[in-house]
Symmetry: C2
Subunit: 576 residues, 2 copies
Amino acid sequence: MRASRFFISTLKEAPSDAEIVSHQLMMRAGMIKRLGSGIYTYMPTGLRVIRKVEAIIREEMNKSGALELLMPVVQPAELWQETGRWDKMGAELMRVKDRHGRDYAIQPTSEEVVTDVVRSEIKSYRQLPLNFYHIQTKFRDERRPRFGLMRGREFTMKDAYSFDRDVAGMQKSYGVMFDAYVRIFNRFGLKFRAVAADNGAIGGTGSHEFHVIASTGEDALVYCPSSDFAANMEAAEALAIGTRGAAAQAMEKVPTPGKTKCDSVAELLGLPLSRTVKTIALTVEKEEEGKVSKQYFMLLLRGDHELNEVKVGKVAGLAGHRFSTEAEIEEVYGTVPGYLGPVAPRLPVTVVADRTAANMADFVCGANERDYHLTGVNWGRDLPEPVVADLRNVVEGDASPDGKGVLAIERGIEVGHVFQLGTAYSASMGATFLDENGKPAPLQMGCYGIGVTRILGAAIEQNFDDKGIVWPDALAPFELVLCPMGMDRSEAVKTQAEQLYAELKAAGVDVIVDDRGLRPGAMFADWELIGVPHRVVIGERGLKEGKLEYQGRRDAAATAVPVAEMVGFIKGKLGR
Amino acid sequence: MRASRFFISTLKEAPSDAEIVSHQLMMRAGMIKRLGSGIYTYMPTGLRVIRKVEAIIREEMNKSGALELLMPVVQPAELWQETGRWDKMGAELMRVKDRHGRDYAIQPTSEEVVTDVVRSEIKSYRQLPLNFYHIQTKFRDERRPRFGLMRGREFTMKDAYSFDRDVAGMQKSYGVMFDAYVRIFNRFGLKFRAVAADNGAIGGTGSHEFHVIASTGEDALVYCPSSDFAANMEAAEALAIGTRGAAAQAMEKVPTPGKTKCDSVAELLGLPLSRTVKTIALTVEKEEEGKVSKQYFMLLLRGDHELNEVKVGKVAGLAGHRFSTEAEIEEVYGTVPGYLGPVAPRLPVTVVADRTAANMADFVCGANERDYHLTGVNWGRDLPEPVVADLRNVVEGDASPDGKGVLAIERGIEVGHVFQLGTAYSASMGATFLDENGKPAPLQMGCYGIGVTRILGAAIEQNFDDKGIVWPDALAPFELVLCPMGMDRSEAVKTQAEQLYAELKAAGVDVIVDDRGLRPGAMFADWELIGVPHRVVIGERGLKEGKLEYQGRRDAAATAVPVAEMVGFIKGKLGR
């Protein structure tokens, strides 16, 4: 490609609505252009990256035996009604009526359509397993679109759907996709981590997220550096810290006026925060025969620990819980928030203690009386043994659940997700096959997504500096830029530029020659901003010594390379 | 590809709603699957063809200097309101509201968005010319979707938009695109014709349509076999037939009771139809200072000729015309439809005669009296000379407007369109650039579309037989199918099949081996229906003589080819 025939449009300043670095740099590099809230045109430079992402995904999906098809963007509401998602999905699902008043969804994902395709095509177990995927435009009407391609409304996604005859088959298909994803993210050249995830609302029996590691990432990833344990914060199991010691103190009520937080209580009492316990009051409403009854729960956590709401929802009896209101707290505990505690509540409540809180002795908690806490509290002696559950977020240094070391935490950006769906969709849509005995059975499904356009944002959040983007070779809009200095003045430079350009193209290098006639500073600034990973400068002075200047995007200085060796040198840099 | 790992799903019968052969065959071959009215999933076999179409388009567009970007499917209404198309387009434009109640269009085309991109990016004539294209999903809410991919609602289209500083530049860009289209359709391997077209509602100054030739085509294409004249029926100029002879008969009123059509009048009078003239009464309403006034026109055509409404609309004074009502005909001519004629109407009317009708002598026309016609009518003698205009569709045998022969007519399916838009969009959207004198000028635009998914239907309408589809090599889902006979019984067949499969893949042939273990009849029927253009059969009997059977999809019989020569033989067939 010649820069004079390409469309390059860089900006010195990012627009003010670009809050994060990847959004700022993509706008400044002219890769995307805003059309509306969360809706972008992918300009030629940006589209080149998208096509590279897509090509790698496609190759690895095909290699794994998945078959590409293309499902529509506009999908009849009837299918979404069959699974109940037409109602469940709320305002995020963009809905549209046609000229006859019929309802359609603009697809945010395609479980319904693929299940509809398969239920009419698959008759027998002999046709299984099967894995269909597509790379398609999707729309999610986000409440607050932002961060450029990271949380846009219109985006491109690869979604794949596997169909198997039994759970073992589904797990095998899942494993094949997991391995394909590892190959895909390795080929992208991004640092990433696959973590176990909670299955959430979609249901099913197992899932992993693929995260691009970046200090700016929204998600906390938990992993064990000395084993292969990795999970997201929602899913990472927190083991008990320590073992319960013997009671050494008597329980005592102490005045703590105005101290409603564990840290201020600990400070007042001159104790470490880890000697305190915080109490969270929950209410679960149940309706039976038209009557609503309320059950009250008290959750206990060590003062320095954080509640994990996903884990709370999994405790027996706590599905559908909510935080208790102040009125309920007054009624049940006879006090105000900030002084709650598990000792002798006014009404009967179920006390659920986190594993670590359940292991504590001589601890401090609220006294169920305004301006008072209890010290020296001990399970079994001062109050009954609690229900014990994993309720908290892990912290750095926790023991790894696999017993093989201690946990570390890093930040990540979710760009892929693999799910074991089981029969969540096939059952509601009647997608069955005939098994070996001629009996209908529901298809066992898996689904597997990669946010194609999101990859761009995530890759930049991981790879940038103060000059701009630093693309990994595999994703760069161009692998190499050739910068001739004074091409219009120097015949020698021009001839060498044309020759090297031709040789690099012949060697399969994705090269752009900057023949725009810009001054060196402006030329270099453009390519550093755009993030082309390799640069060769052709100058008259160097040519006199038979040399060209190579500089990697992250290199501090240039390397002089003899003209005749440059193509081989570049191939070496690109690992070819 | 191995057929056992691909998804092949053929049908003996097409669904009853498939009216035309391409729709029937695509459904039977399992290339598409209906999701809703005019909305299809492209199944793996169909998507392979689409990808081949897209790849050829992309290569030739890039070669011509056009730059690929990707504009959104969901587009803000504001842009469509700027050009007035939000109101003009009616129900075909699919409209959607987001969660905040803002209006969006699901794009049927992208003139507005690309003009918006360019008006903010282009400052100077130095940045021109520029040509942006994308290949994207589009939606048109057709009143009556049918014919499968030929008139679907969701479809894929390549649309390109050129931007130039002046008309000469626009025409040059147009010529570059025209040439690219010729290369594209040649590479598809389809018989096609580029014809001059009317610019229609989109406005502008010149356009051509690209049609795939097919006897089932909706459109009539006019061309001159001995020159390069070609136009669609709307645009093809009709010259006068013959020259006017001298009057030889006296005008006479003859009774023609119940004969309201030219052919029945001619039959009654024992004259050729070409001696009759038909009269069409039109009304044009004009509003001035709140008052509506009516003007009446009479169009005259030779009895065997057809009116061309596009041409009528271009006659001075006839913009906005409509057919006169029976009440108006009674008022103006004092008679009923069927007996109208240009001689002595009751009220003053403008008589416009087609060039050929204006050349007639001693002709027959209505007498403006029920059950009577006039014979021996002559211009100048019996009535004033008419306004003369081209009003009719050409017919086979007409003189070519370029004076180089006579016209022929064939049927075609429109799959591409190139337009000179001029400033139709740039003016309404304020898309200007600064010219050499630093003055703002509107961009001169062209637009260029190819119906990607429609190509599939058109290619099939041109290439099928009673067994199924006959793809040209360049578009076939697979170039060649390898059919081993009794692979499971014969080790020799299996070994040979695997070896040839590997060799063909290594030679770059897009080959599928049918390892499904079907019986020959069923296997062959599948591939003939799917339309794979080349087939090699591996059988035990042939192998004993060192031979394999090659059969082209259109060949009447198979050709025995020595095993060692087969790869070279196939490469020859594929022109490699």
